[in-house]
Symmetry: D2
Subunit: 411 residues, 4 copies
């Protein structure tokens, strides 16, 4: 076994050891048999945890082809270990070109999938644009992330979505945990690894206060930063304020920010005006799905030079002499400069993925729209998680259940 | 002006000075005219903030009759000031008997209401049981709290709800703020006022991790306690654990708890087993709507004596020698031992109440079920709140709006 | 027993039940006998916890006379209960004039004390200025608070201090806990009780980042505020910044502060410039020992009117139309609007007081200067505290002790 | 320039850009001239920030020889860049044997130092044991860390310390920041990098609640863990409890700990009993100076096999089947698995180092004992730090200064 493969294998083993929920779900899915012999095409960040999902799907009988959902997020050691040690069909390489990226997505479709697992919506989008021939064979899909769900809902609204897609992202056990605690921790980890700079005593601007933004703000505060939040949604803005953060427009926050993290799902969250006004020495990072939240175009336009000053840091010297630091080319900093979400978090998300894949097969003929994960699946995953940690919950007595059903008993 | 009235008037003035959102909403509601000349029956905790809601409703033209929604939560100074200084028809007294309580509720119905504003569901329940004659005249109602909404949904499910009720509690601007930050702060305030005990370095058990429970746990932690959480819902249990709290069954948590707060919406949350096992010296408090979350029946049954040791503390000496302290007879500790939610929080909740009252009149003929507050009302209240604090938010550009609508642009 | 006495007695009982450390210390001090038959003059805030100290001193054989150390901090129910129920010689009344205040201090000296227990330094100062005749009979004193110690050190430096004084404030078990966790909690409690305003989502300025300031800042953050800190000491300023707070001059912070708390031990911490610039609607509170930290002179000078809007709130309408709210006339807000520090905190401080009183008697002839509390006393109090809560600590093995003593064993 | 050198040079540049305080101090030290032409021997973790200290000392005229103070903490890229690009005399290599380690320490003494800068006390100890001939030429030393200071005090007590040593560790600007915020952040960073495991929702045991332990506990809590603390000092134990942590003996805490970090300065903090009782799957890390805080001897003794499962993780399979994970062979996890303290923190510590080196030269003939850093040096560093971040502090007026000096003005 070469060194890269050995490293990748260890990472897979380590992940598997910390993913008891999917292990448990696997046994049940295997018994049910819905995935047996089915073809699954996956586009996820190729690293240890998704590797375990792919292997688990194969272990319950599915044929799996896998590509990366982001040109810069592949862990090559894991990709190689999956290919060499497990004979998995993996089409991914860190730092691939856009052309290679789409070629790899296309490669996962060769076996004509019955189920499509996507993260960000590129694979499902590709099928609808270029491979409509496959649609009839697809029982359904599952989408992992906010950005992908936003795209799918736009397709649904437009009437162009042609098979059902489970919105894994909207499951409680996904967005409450993966987006909040996973992104929160891994973003801080990525920034600290990339910069080795002090967080406490710094001004930290979080652009976007969705579940991911809440997680990042919470952890930045937990590491001792003074946290500011920018939002477009007034309800979330009030929430951020009540959570103890200063709330202000991006262009104002950036004037005093030592760190900025975008996590909006929208392009140009840090655009021209923000770039013009940002504090000297500011570190810019993105944890949103695409690398367009911080405008690299504007960074290039208003800088007179740039150079790589650390492995994951590009230093831009602006025309007016200010220095800005962009982490990981504006791609997901937690994956590109860190190791992605912890295994225990992905364990829950990928248990949902596996149960979603089973659900679309079991309930074939669902409407071609974005479907919520049924409450039972959420509760199942939650219960397995608690069980894996030996945590007990209270049980309602019969009398309490009756009480809750009964509207007449008052004061 | 006698002393009590003077005190109540000052409290009303102070509240009004800190409720800019409802002030702003009032102007618009007044211009629209839907509430003009309408009869409103209200059952809310009678204190300064609800007093401002009542006065505001009158200021836009409604005829208001008001009672308390809880026998122990009335601020007599405010009740008296509303009657004496403002001529408001208020039927409430702190420490009323159950009989007086229902008599007072009934009194608010004398003018045959067009709109009913309720908190906990007793008034709406009373109408359905005893005053069906009024139902035809009622355009709709609005319910303030989780407990009430649970009861109304039980009625809806049973098919017995006969007029539409706006679920103010389910509005984002209500439960995200009132339940979480309001209950969180006022519960801690009530406990500290009642006991003058140290919170930091103590074990603090929160029973129930809904929005209120989250708020209490957050604030208890913020005051330095070691916080434990009990839940029946596995999803919430995982969330509490990820928030850094120990999660365990009530009967286990109470063995080491110095403070217990119930906020479940269910009776006997602290029942026989918990009472038998609770730590010596444990302080028991409730912030749920009804006083049945901590079983007083069981406290009495297993104690050999009880005596009042401070204004809001009943000391129970158990048969086995342990001492337990029950705050405010198990009624809402934040209202009974404290002053209730801060004005700025109720400002948002009551702006929703006023807009809900207008909504049922404006959209007469809504189905007889529990209705969600429309997103526009939430956003309106949020925007007014931000405006009142001079907080600016970002605005999406046209290009960004297009981007969000467009599913084709990916990696 | 009249109502006031009954209330005070209950408060004393409640405090005693939550002060196990002093109970334990009392037994040992009693056995040693040093305090037996000695005269003790005390000037402390007269409330339940100091009442227990006074009673405990008497229980070990001392003759105790007690006055208040602040005109506005006496709990009259406790003072009355101490007099009526326990026959204690207490000279204190809430709201006394300055003349009465000093008369009461003088009254405690009638029996010619052997030991003086002071809080703020007024009593010791009085003895040195007006009652030098008593000095020969005084074995020593003990001072409770930062302000008093600062004054005593000034006396020592000047060469005018004529008997030894134990600096209880400098004991670890005092300032780490009483100043930080005690003041932190009781200040928030006082502000919430006085105002019933929301803390979360507000700007909160803490002026002074000593142990008290650290505690207040920590708790204000814990209640959800955005906290700012002003300091004169650069080391503390860096610490406040690293703790995640914005650090800026008082006059800048107050421009955006919703709440200001002074805790500097210095006068005019909020002086003319700050008052001129403070935000409209700002709430001003003091937790420092004297009522001169917020300049009432300047508030009066720059306001056109003032009126009491709640029991503990004076509203100043400034010449330029802004409104400022001063809590409790600028006196210690935690005592004047709250109930003072929790009993468990004072338990440790007063155990130190009792052991300090014993120490000056046991070691008669100490130099007339400010003395630190010996480390053994701190450890004794800490160990008793842990014992009272059933907390175990690790013990060094003999081998580990040797290792720590041995400098030769390195890498 | 080869790749390793290029990487090291970039790390040095990056550090220098974030160390404005030492840059500023350097100018003044250079003007004073005390270090000009003097020989300095240094034993510090060789990485980017210490590299900047070494270069700065050379820039003010000193001749510098440098070795590592720990066999596993050297950043080879920086060591190589210092040698190749800057011609610095650096004797250090990651993963050196104990023999090489001491040989390298000895190499730094070749030029007969005038000043010795040490971290952990190995170099000063070596001089006293093996190179007493050098002592007469040494004006003094400076020690960086708690462990070293403990050893030096043991030498002082024993009467064997033969030149003055400045206790940089005891400076406020050192231990309040470096130990607390530096160790806090870098330990979490090291653990997350090494394991990619979730911190939130886990039990995290911190053994030792000195400044480092406080920092780690604070950050582990900030990342969402349930934190427990073990201590031998009762005062610190009470403090940990009041800070909201569960306090219990190591052997009890480890039964439920998912992560354990030792930071005690003592050997066998996790010894036989703890290892026997630790939870299955527990991750063991050390942030104390030496690698003897977690007993590797006992881990080997009670395990049946071990294997490397990730780059910085050794998996021990215990005889009873439990799995334990030891990070970085029990050496400082923040340096061995992370990148050490952030530059901004070391900036303050190393400004103190430089001023201490100057101090022993300027005040030649200091007593041969452990000396505290003068308050002026602390304030100087603090003021420069504030200046570098554009933070203003308040200034006392003349009147306020007089007030503080004057003990007569009371109530």
């Amino acid at each position: 076994m070469n060194e890269l493969v050995a490293k990748g294998k260890k990472r897979l083993d380590w992940a598997r050891d910390h993913m008891p929920v999917i292990e448990n779900v696997k046994q049940e899915v295997s018994e049910n048999g819905y995935l047996d012999g089915k073809n699954v095409s996956m586009a996820l960040h190729v690293e240890a945890k998704t590797g375990i999902l792919a292997l688990s799907l194969r272990e319950v009988g599915a044929n799996v082809k896998m590509a990366s959902c982001n040109p810069l997020s592949t862990d090559d050691s894991v990709a190689e270990a999956l290919r060499e040690e497990y004979g998995m069909d993996v089409h991914a390489k860190r730092g691939q070109t856009d052309e290679e990226y789409y070629e790899n997505l296309t490669n996962t479709l060769k076996h004509a999938p019955n189920v499509v697992i996507d993260d960000g919506g590129d694979l499902i989008s590709l099928i609808h644009i270029e491979r409509e021939d496959l649609i009839d064979g697809i029982a359904g899909g599952a989408e992992e992330t906010t950005t992908g769900v936003v795209r799918l809902r736009a397709m649904e609204k437009e009437g162009t979505l042609r098979f059902p897609v489970m919105s894994v992202n909207d499951a409680l056990m996904k967005h409450l945990f993966d987006n909040r605690y996973g992104t929160g921790q891994s973003t801080m980890d990525g920034i600290m690894s990339a910069t080795n700079l002090q967080i406490s005593g710094k001004n930290f601007l979080v652009v976007g206060y969705g579940w991911c933004g809440r997680g990042i703000a919470m952890r930045a505060k937990g590491m001792g930063a003074s946290v500011m939040v920018s939002e477009v949604d007034p309800v979330k803005a009030v929430e951020a304020r009540m959570d103890g953060f200063e709330v202000l427009p991006t262009k104002k926050g950036i004037e005093k920010a030592d760190f900025v993290v975008t996590v909006t799902g929208c392009k140009d969250a840090v655009g021209e005006e923000a770039i013009r006004k940002s504090k000297d020495g500011c570190v810019l990072a993105n944890s949103g799905h695409f690398d367009n939240e911080i405008s690299k175009e504007k960074l290039n336009q208003f800088s007179k030079s740039k150079r790589k000053v650390r492995e994951d840091i590009m230093e831009y010297t602006m025309e007016d002499g200010r220095t800005l630091y962009l982490l990981s080319e504006g791609r997901l900093v937690n994956l590109a400069a860190g190791q992605g979400h912890p295994a225990e978090i992905m364990d829950m998300s990928f248990a949902l993925q596996m149960m979603s894949a089973e659900y679309v097969l079991k309930n074939e003929g669902l409407e071609p729209k974005v479907h919520s994960i049924p409450r039972e699946i959420d509760e199942k995953v939650a219960s397995l998680k608690l069980e894996s940690e030996d945590i007990e919950v209270d049980k309602l007595t019969e009398e309490q259940k009756r009480y809750i059903e009964n509207w007449k008993e008052g004061t």
